[in-house]
Symmetry: C2
Subunit: 436 residues, 2 copies
Amino acid sequence: MPIGIGLLGLGTVGAGVAEILLSPQGRHPLVADLELRQVAVRDLNRPRPIPLSNSLLTTDPAAVVANPDVDLVVEVMGGLEPARSLILAAIEAGKAVVTANKAVIARHGAEIAAAAAEKGVYVLMEAAVGGGIPILEPLKQSLGANRIERVSGIINGTTNYILTRMSEEGASYGDVLADAQALGYAEADPAADVEGGDAADKIAILTGLAFGGLVDREAIPTEGINTLQTRDIDYAKELGFVVKLLAIAERHGSDPDGSEVVDVRVHPTLVPKEHPLAGVNGVNNAIVVEGEPVGRVMFYGPGAGAGPTASAVVADILNIAAIRQVGAGGSQDALDPLLAASSWRNCRLVDQGSTCHRNYVRFQAADRPGVIGHIGSCFGSAGVSLQSIVQFETEGSGAEIVVVTHAVEESLFQQALSAILQRPEVEDVRCCLRTL
Amino acid sequence: MPIGIGLLGLGTVGAGVAEILLSPQGRHPLVADLELRQVAVRDLNRPRPIPLSNSLLTTDPAAVVANPDVDLVVEVMGGLEPARSLILAAIEAGKAVVTANKAVIARHGAEIAAAAAEKGVYVLMEAAVGGGIPILEPLKQSLGANRIERVSGIINGTTNYILTRMSEEGASYGDVLADAQALGYAEADPAADVEGGDAADKIAILTGLAFGGLVDREAIPTEGINTLQTRDIDYAKELGFVVKLLAIAERHGSDPDGSEVVDVRVHPTLVPKEHPLAGVNGVNNAIVVEGEPVGRVMFYGPGAGAGPTASAVVADILNIAAIRQVGAGGSQDALDPLLAASSWRNCRLVDQGSTCHRNYVRFQAADRPGVIGHIGSCFGSAGVSLQSIVQFETEGSGAEIVVVTHAVEESLFQQALSAILQRPEVEDVRCCLRTL
């Protein structure tokens, strides 16, 4: 039986979705059951890359949601509002929703999930994380036997493109960003990408699925690449690391009430050269999932783009179409619990002071005998064990001293830094990064 | 409602599955609904790594299949018979089946699928390919919007371990194999791994899911690593390649009747160093899926081992448990078509003579001026375009000349080889490998 699809948005991703729906030949036969019934666009008169009958188009997205011929609403307009309200209206009307909107799901996921559970409809969002890479479905449907220990990944293509070029060419952040904007790999306003907000949205969604409970998106510590200097990428390289913007969610423990305590964060990270994430370059994304008993699995591919993202959107539609052949939903109990993926325990973010990490820190100091020794001693007194301490050649005056620590509790590390900054020969901490 | 699980086999994988079922804490809550009700073992008195009540054990696998308390049969005994008969008996009794048995599915998949469709039960097999890596589920449930162009991968951990060590240490095949056997990475009888049969079983299964139709397992051209020489690995390295045992299934075209024509094969392959598969080392597996519009995605992780394989087996059980909450099955129409993944078109293997590949070929020739020119001319006359032709230093007499071709039709390539072997200064073709 055909399923009526209503599409909210006909930008890059929306056009990619329409293109798949209009050319089912050679795809899974279920694609031919999907009928595009109405499309909400911003401007009726804009030229379109795909041939769509004018009768399908409207400028009123609420009309698409309300259209009785539309069984399933695909939201690919982006932004928080009216996307959130339209998703909720579709659920209220008993319609399944597929969205690529990470910002809405990361911020309003709890509200949307509660509404979907009450109405017994699916809200799927594979395209919201990792573009065309299947990652949410595998987390939900292929890794449920595991106790997940960590999810970490490169989930923002723009910043990975910039970091790859900074690393390969030794170019500055500003130069590469300007180039990326000219090439269309970065937006005119790049803040959401380069300041880490986009990656934080996505790791919030991954955390919910991997650990079974939602976390407060706004409280995720987030650091972007916009203040990163090429020299730290170069020094990291000499020490055997590649700098990547990682989003990480790892199990920290549990509260007495059984809540899962998770350390979730986004920051530029030194990744050892032999780690599978170190070789992920350009606009590609990759997500590593570690759990017991599976060990470490990785999912790799194009993190953005019309085709890959549309592939993920239509996969979600197909899953809903397929399960309709088994049962109609209509109540939470009538949903497939893996596909619906509702929360099954409480999760909260860890207090950052109690987390343990390896660190990279670059000091500006006087070029004087004994400086390395003093810095080493300060770390030692604070109980911080070091992997390496190296003085790099500089052009100007003074010395640049780079320290890589072993895993250390954050509060101890900060104590050591304060003590070091008390020393007269140490001018400043110029850069401080986490190390995987 | 609890689901009764019957386990056929309590070897490495079976014990891993039991361990997950007996320790549901911290896993998806659905795991707690799975009750291990009976286990078929070979010897009741053997010591077990996990505490299982003796009342659960039997030496009669048919009794497990027939047990009315068993709703779902997990076949992890391996081998063709009695595994095949037991799977068919379980289906006949209306029970869902989860298996890790690539040999049975690759050879008897059509018979098993027909029986399962008639009875309206699921037969799932995620663990049969790629160990703990989610690959069959993503192919079925996350990539259905795509026209798949190629599936290629490293899907045998034993041979990848051997090749990795041959490449890193310059050691011979025989020495590394003996070591791998001592370490438990290779079986006492390594034929199924090193001759490529295991990889051929797995690519047969992947082909069925990626292209929507079954192919004749026995007709898949299969070449192992057991005659591979370290020198060719070394020469390949100098030319910018890594040698991997790849299993490949790629779309070749379609017949006038709409059948899909697929080029499926297993052979040692020169992989360019920058290709994502080149960095997959040791016992790890990785599968690359290329399609329109997704582009190229890769799935990476541990290809074998108790924990990873058990993770995949229990994932299948969970999917069946989850979908039972939506509908009970009982007929083909009552199954989720993505999860059930029945064939939806005819596929056949291509005639190898009409395929196109890049080739690596090493000639033994007289060390005489003009040899390279003669070889180059012969290729040129046959219309074979070359990427490189290099003479390597040898210890003995004569010259070793290595040619890497561009993509060329197999029949033309063979013609060129015959012509070259006619030349008096060319003694022999010592090695001939495909190049990605």
